[in-house]
Symmetry: D2
Subunit: 372 residues, 4 copies
């Protein structure tokens, strides 16, 4: 029988969207339990935040440092933290936790800047502790199926990749806490849309295809008047095997909710997956056959079946995908392998992508090398 791993949260206080998602995802499979948190730097708000999760005031701390100190002295103290703050706090929080010997699950993007990411790289290396990055979409069963099929050669040689991530919720003035910090360079870092969702698309493309980006040409825009950061990204791609591609990410595409979609074309077949209907994966062959693959179907790869909790026809969604990352993280903490969990290298690579694209676009640099 497995003992549940005790988790503390940094951020995720009142008004947060992603904090409750982390809690739910972490606990879904009974491997992890949220027991403490530094939910806000305001003591009263942290207590209120904790209460919403069912955490008592005694373990709802006003700071990560306070949490680390207090929990260290408990027999049932936390064994990991999740960092669910705005980007600018990621490095500080991760460093503090890791240096206190606590494993870290960190929201994406890894940090606010590439420089911070490189600093964090050293911290992680020195700590030698599990470190995960919640590129959520890597947790979907059919994303893992797609990766497995490509690895097994189902597409032949990959030639073309189209990944897009349109949203519309920031098409107007940024209203509310969730919107506000994302369009503020002081909180978000150098990237707006590209750091919020473009980096998801980038990770998904490399994760599923198994390819590595080697060149890019970025066209980032700030469409909403007065916006300091990018809110619409059009990026041309070239991968290490010569494959061509394009990445589109937008937060001003009115009417779109969360339209992440990935299409990959090889010389033998093409595939298509859409996050809003995540239980369907299309595989279309050069001979004209089109297959619809549904999550939970018998005959899927072990990676996909292990990531499903229900049989085909009983739809799972975003929360279950997220929970699959936590299940992987628990494996790491138990000393097992979790090769599909995005880690520090993926986070770092994402920051390099953001940094390279923002600079290349700002300088209208045309094609630039991407060294990751």
């Amino acid at each position: 029988m497995k003992r549940r791993i005790r988790m503390g949260m940094v951020g995720g206080g009142p008004g947060a969207f992603i904090g409750p998602v982390h809690r739910l995802a972490a606990e879904m499979d009974r491997e992890i339990e949220l027991v403490a948190g530094a939910f806000s730097s305001d003591a009263a708000r942290s207590i209120a935040g904790g209460a919403a999760y069912g955490i008592g005031p005694d373990r709802s701390y006003p700071s990560l440092d306070a949490m680390l100190v207090a929990e260290r002295d408990r027999a049932d103290g936390i064994e990991m933290v999740v960092i669910a703050t705005p980007n600018r706090h990621h490095l500080t929080a991760a460093r503090a936790a890791l240096e206190a010997g606590i494993a870290v699950m960190c929201d994406k993007p890894l940090t606010a800047t590439l420089e911070e990411a490189r600093t964090l790289e050293g911290v992680v290396a020195r700590a030698g502790l599990p470190f995960g990055v919640t590129y959520t979409y890597a947790g979907y069963p059919l994303v893992r199926e797609a990766k497995a099929r490509i690895a097994a050669g189902a597409l032949g040689t990959i030639r073309k990749l189209v990944v897009e991530y349109p949203q519309g919720w920031l098409a107007g003035e940024a209203v509310g806490k969730q919107a506000a910090w994302r369009v503020d360079p002081a909180s978000a870092g150098i990237g707006g849309c590209i750091a919020d969702i473009g980096v998801h698309a980038f990770h998904l493309a490399e994760f599923v295809s198994g390819l590595k980006l080697v060149k890019l040409l970025a066209d980032l825009g700030s469409v909403v008047p007065g916006r300091a950061l990018d809110d619409d990204c059009q990026i041309l791609l070239r991968f290490d095997n010569g494959a061509r591609g394009v990445l589109l990410a937008s937060q001003i595409s009115v009417g779109e909710r969360n339209g992440l979609r990935l299409r990959i074309y090889g010389d033998k077949a093409g595939l298509d997956w859409r996050q809003e209907e995540p239980n369907s994966l299309w595989l279309s062959h050069a001979d004209g056959r089109s297959e619809l693959i549904r999550a939970g179907d018998p005959g899927l790869s072990p990676a996909a079946l292990q990531a499903s909790r229900t049989p085909g026809g009983h739809p799972e969604g975003y929360l279950e995908a997220f929970a699959n990352l936590y299940r992987d993280f628990a494996r790491l903490l138990r000393g097992e392998a979790a090769p599909l969990l995005p880690g520090l290298a993926d986070g770092l690579r994402g920051m390099a992508f953001i940094d390279t694209a923002v600079r290349a676009s700002r300088e209208n640099a045309g094609w630039v090398d991407f060294t990751g």
Copy 2:
């Protein structure tokens, strides 16, 4: 801060599909915690079952009675049970729990026979304790949205209702534990497909429409050679406002996974919802306008918004729908109202539906009154 309600499970041992779903759903929102179980009548299997949930052998009991006795003596003893056994055990288990003062969440159908259901009705009445029935699909946000819109008059007078629930997984020989008990009258009761999924469709139709069935004409078949219970149901319906309808349920519809779908047509508009893509609800108006409503969208009814954990575009699914029933049940246990949670009356009505349809079909009785 809410204290978690302590739950015991009856059934749901090794090999079960629905036990882990109950566990996950009950715990999703941190209001309930599975702490004990009588997972099997075989002591060793119960312990193995418990271990899979993270429950120790001390609280993995060989029988419900043993659990009730042992837990009563604990300060942290169970406050509710979920009954996740084959149908034939529902009455016995529910009675034992209720008579021990323990609230009950019961899987559907309520019991194995209508007689048992009527017996249980008395037991529940005497106990005066919360009693829920997991008609899962009543937990979907957009099902609740549909119900709210109809109640608000969006469809005008309802005239026609089509509810269908095709599956294909029992089209061949019944293989495995899940299939075996469902086709065995000794475990399942008098209904096969109708009791397993037809009753879901029936509940959904009444739940969303707000109408009550008053007549039916049933055509149930056992398509697979040698099958004792029905595996394909075609039932004509008449509702209390005169509306016409049809209910189709099938477990021999090869290629279908879990295709529950509900269409309701009024004189002003029609709606359409499909379980396999549960985050979309169609509303089409007499003037030709067709609207797509997505779960989590702003502007939905409070009932739908409260049943969503994520904003639009972040799909939720079957497990979250199921969890919404548990969230409702927790409200009951805390003394709050939970008007959308299916209860004893719904369970009883479902049994009457099964009983009436099976008998009417067997006797080729044509239209028969349905008194519920």
Copy 3:
């Protein structure tokens, strides 16, 4: 080089929906040409009708008889007629044409009553001339593909068939010429919805499955207050191989346009086709594989490929399906075989279906034999 067959039209004058469709479909493949017509029994309206088709007043006759007499004397006189009138004129028109030695393409349903249909049967037999019935949906390439696959055994033994045809356009008062005659027994005959669209669904089911209906149980309703004919049909079916089924047809299903859909389930696979997206056919196998077949794809059956004019991805629709029936009719006139063209027997069988269902429902007769 083929000479075009000269066609006259009966009906289809000003305000008609189906007349222009017949013209266009007949002429699409350059095998037939509309050259004359008795477009209305009002001489001026017939001339106006003709003008809309590009037919001069000299060949726009005030009656079929006038057309038959005048055209017989022309070297370039008509060789076939299409009957596109309300149902009550079908018998009279068909008889006159056939007895004048002119082949007939007749709109569905065959006649206004079964008795008329039987009378027509004798007329056709005596005439020995080509006779077609425009069950339009039998002309779709993927309907023919479905038929071919079933004939080749792709589904195994057929067990279950669901055919539905919801529309919403008659949910309110019948407004306009098109609506008015369809709800008037004097023009339409004994059937409303069942004769207008139910018969399409019935033909499609038998056409694709290759099965023959042997029993039915009909529940027809007149939902709109004051309506004399049925506007909503729910019919249970039993086929000659024992397969079960249901046919739903409705003209009061608000929000539905022309939602004809056919699902057939065998013991090896199931298929699904929808008229509103007619270029897709789903084939789902017992082993869990789901295939999407698109019209025009290489690898389809000869029957489907011959019925497509464009390669996959260039959608064809209702008019092309209709034209395929005319192409078949031209083959008959040229002395070739056209086994897929619905003929007198299909029309007669449709009338028997309407007659049997209307009577069985009126008498609440339960299951009745269908002898065709």
Copy 4:
């Protein structure tokens, strides 16, 4: 009553795909009739080609010049020609016809090179005759609806445009006549994929949005080994109102048939149209409402309703869209206005797009001005 316009065809002989489409589209509405052709430069093949259309050997000419001479002397001679040859013959054929006083409908792209297009511009100007270009997709009813809604302000200020046109049929070696000339610079001109389908996407984007392209950045690739022309295009766009965009066109996207899709996002709403299901148009509003608009629905714009031949639910497709262009052309020939028909200016603009993109990509020129 309208007299049919007499049309001659250039090209479209045995083995052609687009010739029969032109014939069918031109004749669909009875306004135009194909009566002659120079179907091939091989006399025998021209006669065979004519026979397939039902044209006699006397009017199946071995050259356009022969046709122009012979038809000029007939009382019933041709009044227009359609040019359906490979691109390299467009200029020569159009010039000959126009100089002979014959109106021209020309397949796209306008010519093989921009220089030719400019030459043709002068020819058309001097001739003063109707000249149309078959950008087919401009004929779809819902494309015209989209254009009308945008013109009426439904989207507010347009900010972003994504147009894509993936196909997979040239992913392998170019097999067959259709494929062969498209990948051969001698027949196709300087553009491969961009000239064959990219130009369609370009026209559609400007046609619907009402915007004009002012800058582009092109990334064209020849993916299939040994291919001389581009087969995959990724082009970043900037429009005259500052809107951003991207155009993707590909003929190596395995599994895609003819996936033209246009999305346009304004500050008030976004729209989405897909050629493979052309009877649906999505309009999604900033307030979260999503509407599905279907072709033929009441309430659409006059432009869309006039372009539909059937009511909603009776799908029309590619051939009807094509026929709408011919209906427009017939209006021109009758001296009426046809503002939606693409003409010389659209054709010229398309050639400038091809030329600019091919050169910019070849020179890796980054952003370049597009002067049209």
